[in-house]
Structure formats: C-alpha cells, structure tokens
C-alpha cells in the first residue's frame, strides 16, 4: 500500500469509526427494532413485520401528537420568522443602540431548552398569575399552561423567544449583503420606507427566507427539551374519546412510549418522524435546485 493512502485512511479513521459506531449501526438496529416486539425488559426481540406501524395510525394518542406537532410547527414558522425579520430590521436601522439590542436578542438562544423551560414555567405559572391576581385580570388568574387550547400557542411563544435571535442573524447577514446604493437609489426616487422594505429588501432576501423556513421547520418538528420542562406534555384533555396529553409533541410521545418500556412502538414512531424529516429534506433539495435553475 502506498504511504499516502495509509495516511488518508488514518486521517479518516477516527471520524468514520465514531460515525459508524454511533450513527450507522444504531440506525440499522433502529429500523429493525421498529419491526420487532422489543420491550426493553426481555433481551430478545422477535420480528413482527409492519404490525407496530399499522397500530400507530389507529392510536388516538399518536395521531394527536402528530397533528399537534404539525400545528405547532406551522405557527412557529410564521411567528419565529415574522419576529426575526422585524428584529433584523431594528438592528440594521440607524437606531442608536442597535448593536446592544442585537446582542440582547441573541442571548435566549444560548440558554438550553431544559433551563429555559423551567424559567418560563415559573413565569407562566407564578409571575403572570401573580400579576393577574393583583390587577384582577380574569384570564390571567390561572396559568395559561393549564388550558388545553392555549398551551401550544404559549409553547410557540417561548420557542419564538428562544430562536428569533438566531434566525435574526441570518436575516441581518442577508440585509448586509444587499448593496446600500440600491436602497439609496430607491429612496432618492421617492420610495417610502415600507415599499423599500417589501418591494426591494424582501425579494432580495429570498434565499435567507428559505434557509430560515427549513431551519424553523426541522427544529420545531424535533422539539423536545423545552416541551419536557415547560409542560411535560400537560394538561390532560380528550381526543377521539380517549384521554391524552394536550401538549405532548412527537419527540416527547416517543420518549414517554419508551419510558413505559414499549420500546418497539417508540422505535416505530421515531421511524415515522424520520420519514417525515426525509420528505422535508427532499422537498428542500428539489426547491433549491429549481431556484438555481431560475437564477
């Protein structure tokens, strides 16, 4: 073997080995276990075919988690991107404290989902209730996390608080990439602030919108940490005549199924999540290809 080939193999070895051991092999097992009766208690697992998958789409608890995750993702895409875009306009304006504001808006992204879940749980269950009681505001007197109808919206609001500063940075980079002369020319020609923003800025930032959209989509779809410490799935509600947890997103549903030792079922749910994400990725690749052709 040539010496340089040996060096190549040695250089690749650590990553390839860790990649195979931690991702490829568990992934293979993961697909297989989703078609077994693995329960985490006995050591063996017998092949059962597609039985686990067939059961999923008639189980109200899974259907609810799936639908609520799609709903949560949809409102996140709108809220996070609208807020981040507004923030990016603020921090690229001539506002005096723009750099200070930019630094501040980004801080929530540094706090992990676990920690910020507890912080917001405290704010929503204690601080806002205290304000509601002292000012006698009816709908604030009990926690907004305790109502099945509002809990997803509140989670989306917390998620917006966490992610907007990050997505804002992507928009800021896009805005700074637009030649200043273009905006000045439009201003000289008498275009107002809003028409400048929506007729020149937004179309020129199309790429940044695509990136942010898919980033928000995939992170919302996989949301776990904040869900776990903010609501832990609660409150209880009913769906298709079955008691279920109102804010149990897909990732948390998988976690709770596995905690109940129904490992194969959890694995099947995870495979469904995987397939959904693959579809999103394929759509993104196709979309980007199409756009490149247009350019």
């Amino acid at each position: 073997m040539k010496r340089s080939t040996l060096v190549n193999i040695l250089f690749l070895a650590p990553c390839v080995f860790a990649f195979i051991m931690n991702i490829i092999i568990p992934f293979g097992f993961g697909l297989y276990y989703s078609m077994t009766d693995w329960n985490g208690v006995k050591t063996s697992a017998n092949f059962v075919g597609m039985r686990n998958f067939a059961g999923l789409f008639s189980s109200p608890d899974f259907i609810y988690s799936f639908l609520i995750t799609i709903f949560y993702t949809a409102i996140n895409i709108v809220l996070v991107n609208a807020v981040s875009f507004a923030l990016s306009l603020i921090v690229t304006s001539k506002f005096r404290f723009r750099n200070f504001l930019r630094a501040g808006f980004f801080i929530p992204y540094l706090i992990g989902g676990i920690v910020l879940g507890y912080i917001w749980q405290f704010i929503l269950n204690n601080a806002i209730v205290a304000i509601g009681n002292s000012l006698s505001i009816g709908f604030l007197k009990s926690s907004l996390l305790g109502k099945p109808n509002t809990v997803i919206w509140i989670m989306s609001l917390v998620n917006t608080w966490q992610y907007s500063g990050y997505i804002m940075l992507i928009y800021v980079a896009a805005i700074q990439g637009i030649p200043a002369s273009l905006m000045e020319a439009a201003e000289v020609d008498g275009a107002g602030y809003f028409s400048r923003t929506f007729k020149i800025l937004v179309p020129m930032m199309a790429n940044a919108f695509t990136i942010s959209l898919f980033l928000t989509l995939t992170t919302s779809f996989k949301q776990f940490d904040m869900n776990f410490t903010l609501t832990n799935g609660g409150p209880a509600t009913r769906f298709m005549d079955t008691p279920i947890k109102a804010s149990q997103l897909l990732a948390m549903n998988i976690f709770n199924t596995a905690t109940a030792n129904r490992m194969a079922e959890a694995q099947a749910k995870a495979v469904v999540l995987f397939v959904a994400l693959v579809l999103v990725a394929l759509f993104q690749v196709a979309y980007n290809k199409k756009k490149e052709v247009e350019l």
Binding site: A18, F19, M21, I170
Partner: protein
C-alpha cells in the same frame, strides 16, 4: 404650518417606534430579570410575591450555597463533568473532523465523494431514531469486550464525536475547498510529509472556521439533555448541568427559590463567555447557519 405638522407627525411616529422597540427588548430580557430577582428570595417570599424585588440580596448567596452544598444533587461535580465533557468533545471534533474533511477534499475519488455524501445525508436522521438502539448497542460493547461506554466520560465524548462530526466535516469541507492547493504542493516538493503538511500548513489556516465549529458544537454540547441522560443516566457517577437542573427540579418540586438559582448558575458561564466573545460568537453562528 403644514411643514411643521408633518415634522411633528414623523417625530411622533419615531417616538412610537422607539417605545415599541423597547417593549420588544423588554420581552426578551424580562425572563432573565425574573430569574435574578427570584433567585434572591426565600420560597415563602416567592409564593407571597413573585414579581417584587427581593427583601435582601444576601439571600442570593444563601441560595447559591444551599445548591452547592446540597446532598441529593452534586451540582459542583456536574458542573465540572460538563466542563470536561464539553472540552474533550470539542477537542476531538475539531481535530478529527478537520483531518477527515481535508482528506475528503484533496482526494477526488469516487470513495471520498461517497463518504462525504454519507456524512451529509446522516444529518437528516433525528436523534430519536438512534437513541434507544445506541444505548443497547453500547451495552453490548461493554458486556462483550469490556470497554465501558455507558456512564463514562470517554463513552460520551466518543458519542459526541460521532454525532458532531457530520456537520463539522461539512463546514470544514466547504472552507478547505477554497484553500489553494499550490500551498500544499510546494510543501510536498520541499520534502514535507503528508501529515506534516496538514498539521503545520493547513491546520493553522483553518482558524477562522474553527471558531464557527467550536461555537456551534459548544452551545449544543453544553446544553444537550437527551444524549447525556441516555448515556450517563440520571443518577450515574458522571453528570452534566442540564441533568443536575432536572434532578433539582424533580427533588424540590415547586421550590422555586432553589430551582431558579440552579438555572441561574447553569446559564451564567455561557452568558459571561458570550459577553466577552460576542463578536466571534455572532460571526460564527451566522457562518454556520448560512452554510
């Protein structure tokens, strides 16, 4: 007359905008204020009034001491373990991913293209598909060859290398592609060995992109919950900060004085680091996101 009217109208609009911006900023900052003021209260004080300023700021140090000396959760130990795990994971990710990315860029064979594709495609796989088989697989390795991966620092660092290297290789790959090959070629002609060419010529050139890789992985690893929970367990000898915080919240249900103080201590290091290295962090995050 009309000119002065329009002037005051635009001035009014401007003041309104400033008020709006300040309100938005307040929404982003209020949670931190809530944590700080309530970390300086006793449990009773919080129940009595969660939004008032604390009676005495000295309580903050009493609460911090209560957490550091707590017998059920070894907070200082978790803090130290988090530091060690983050440090070594970042070290192996940066060194090994840059090595791999360099070989993948400079070898234009079918194999290297295929391998690169595999790394990129793997980024779509959600952790949920891998986590339970991974634990079972790690247990099998521990039982069969006696190398314990579960519950140990080397085990979780190895896992972070596996989960962190695809994105890191991708980022390094994009950067190395734009380094002129002539630089390495002249070194080789001068008799420099292949591995020395990498470590003394290419590696130093990677500094700017290394910051991006370090920050992206650093924020992820420091705050990560599920992987440490599964690999280290919620009550094993090695713990991390997020696990310690959940252990605290589980053990002292609704004792917000202790829970909030523990969250304050958990987020303090990363915020302090951010205040000092803000420019690099923001630049690194932007580059990581756009690629």
């Amino acid at each position: 007359m009309s000119a002065s009217n329009s002037f005051s109208a635009s001035k009014l609009l401007k003041s309104l905008m400033i008020v709006l911006v300040m309100l938005i900023f307040a929404f982003f900052m209020v949670p931190f204020v809530m944590v700080v003021i309530n970390s300086a209260k006793t449990s009773k004080e919080i129940i009595f009034n969660a939004i008032a300023l604390p009676q005495s700021w000295g309580q903050l140090f009493t609460n911090i001491k209560l957490i550091f000396t707590n017998s059920t959760v070894d907070y200082i130990g978790a803090f130290w373990d988090s530091l060690v795990i983050t440090f070594f994971s970042l070290l192996v990710i940066v060194v090994f991913s840059s090595m791999a990315a360099w070989v993948l860029v400079r070898n234009k064979t079918r194999w290297s293209a295929l391998l690169f594709m595999a790394f990129v495609a793997a980024m779509v796989i959600p952790f949920q598909v891998l986590m339970y088989p991974l634990v079972r697989w790690m247990r099998v390795i521990g039982d069969s060859i006696g190398f314990k991966l579960l519950g140990t620092v080397p085990g979780i660092v190895f896992a972070y290398l596996g989960f962190g290297c695809p994105l890191s290789i991708f980022i390094f790959h994009g950067f190395i592609k734009n380094i002129p090959y002539e630089l390495e070629e002249s070194a080789t002609i001068d008799g420099c060995s292949k591995s020395r060419t990498f470590f003394s010529i290419v590696f130093p050139l990677l500094k700017p992109i290394m910051v991006t890789v370090l920050i992206l992985n650093g924020i992820w690893i420091w705050n990560d919950y599920l992987l440490p929970l599964l690999v280290l367990g919620s009550s094993g000898p090695v713990q991390t900060i997020p696990i310690a915080v959940t252990a605290f919240a589980g053990a002292y249900l609704k004792q917000w004085d202790l829970i909030l103080t523990s969250t304050l201590i958990a987020m303090l290091p990363i915020i302090v680091l951010y205040l000092f290295a803000q420019r690099y962090i923001i630049k690194g995050m932007v580059e990581g996101a756009i690629k």
